[in-house]
Symmetry: C2
Subunit: 197 residues, 2 copies
């Protein structure tokens, strides 16, 4: 029903996560009818980001520089490393202001079915990095999912023989969580991980 | 926390309707991490649509051609005109397959507070079009909102003196609607618009 260029815009908006055919149509018409300036800015931003953004040569997070601003910050403790799955996880941990070390971003988790093995996660580079920099402590903060756990165990097996202090972030009842509404598996982990008072 | 180009991409995604800061961050990281091809296609589609898509010279809908495919279709009845607010409304009415005439797209509704008057809605062109083409029937299908109603009455006042048969789409209980859950205003309209059996 729409002309070919509008159809193509609607179709291409569907690559965005969480955007179905109806939202894509709404977005395309909104941009063309009411916000061509915003559309122009978006097209430019996409083009620039695609052209320039790559991976940090040390921690693998997304950045347009050789080293991301965290790896480049000399004030941070480079003996501590926190391993996460995605750049968004770095932001989440940074927002707690509780970690002063560096990160290593896997950009995913082990998933043999999707062809994602140790090489795709840059584990060879993690290996080299931990030797080279004399890392003393590694906190593994992969997601609390089956894949995240498997990835965590795999990484721990690589790092522990080097005498590195490897830990996993705690699993249990979230802050403000009422036991009545917490699922059984979480509760089981919370019981297992109980701390002496 | 993100590098400047990524920040700019997140910011510019927020021009999309219904996209807040969290979704914009998710979209930007998704595109950069996993779908650079989709991002490339989107940037191209935006660029092409911005450069080429304009208004149909007759009905004012969005199209990259001089005449949209409906106005260009000689098989349609050009004595009947349906007036709608947006291009999406054209699609909605076309999907019923109950209308064989042409459309006129206002691209909004009268809203003096936003500076949208008769000129912005192209009512001068509607006036000329109805004279020139010898339109005999006009169906006003603006939204069933205060602004849509006001716009409808304004247009009816222009067209009725020309002897054109002007009508408004029916308002009432939607198909499958249970009276218990239909709001009072709709029910009042349904009563007022009752049809003899």
């Amino acid at each position: 029903m729409f002309s070919p260029l509008i159809k193509e815009l609607i179709e291409s908006l569907r690559c965005l996560p969480g955007v179905g055919p109806k939202s894509a149509q709404k977005m395309a018409l909104y941009l063309l009818e009411r916000d061509s300036q915003g559309a122009d800015r978006l097209a430019e931003a996409l083009r620039h980001a695609l052209d320039k953004v790559g991976r940090c040569s040390q921690c693998r997070t997304l950045t347009e520089d050789t080293l991301c601003h965290i790896c480049a910050d000399e004030g941070r403790n480079n003996k501590r490393l926190c391993i996460v799955e995605t750049p968004a996880d770095v932001i989440a941990i940074e927002s707690t202001k509780q970690f002063d070390g560096l990160y290593f971003v896997l950009m995913g988790h082990l998933s043999p079915i999707d062809g994602i093995g140790p090489d795709e996660l840059g584990l060879d580079r993690l290996d080299a990095l931990s030797d080279h920099q004399g890392v003393e402590e590694v906190i593994i903060a992969t997601n609390s999912t089956v894949e995240g756990e498997a990835t965590c165990h795999y990484i721990a097996q690589i790092l522990k023989p080097k005498g590195i202090d490897v830990s996993r972030i705690a699993q249990g009842v979230p802050m403000g969580g009422e036991l009545e509404y917490v699922d059984g598996n979480t509760l089981a982990l919370a019981l297992e991980g109980r701390k002496k008072l």
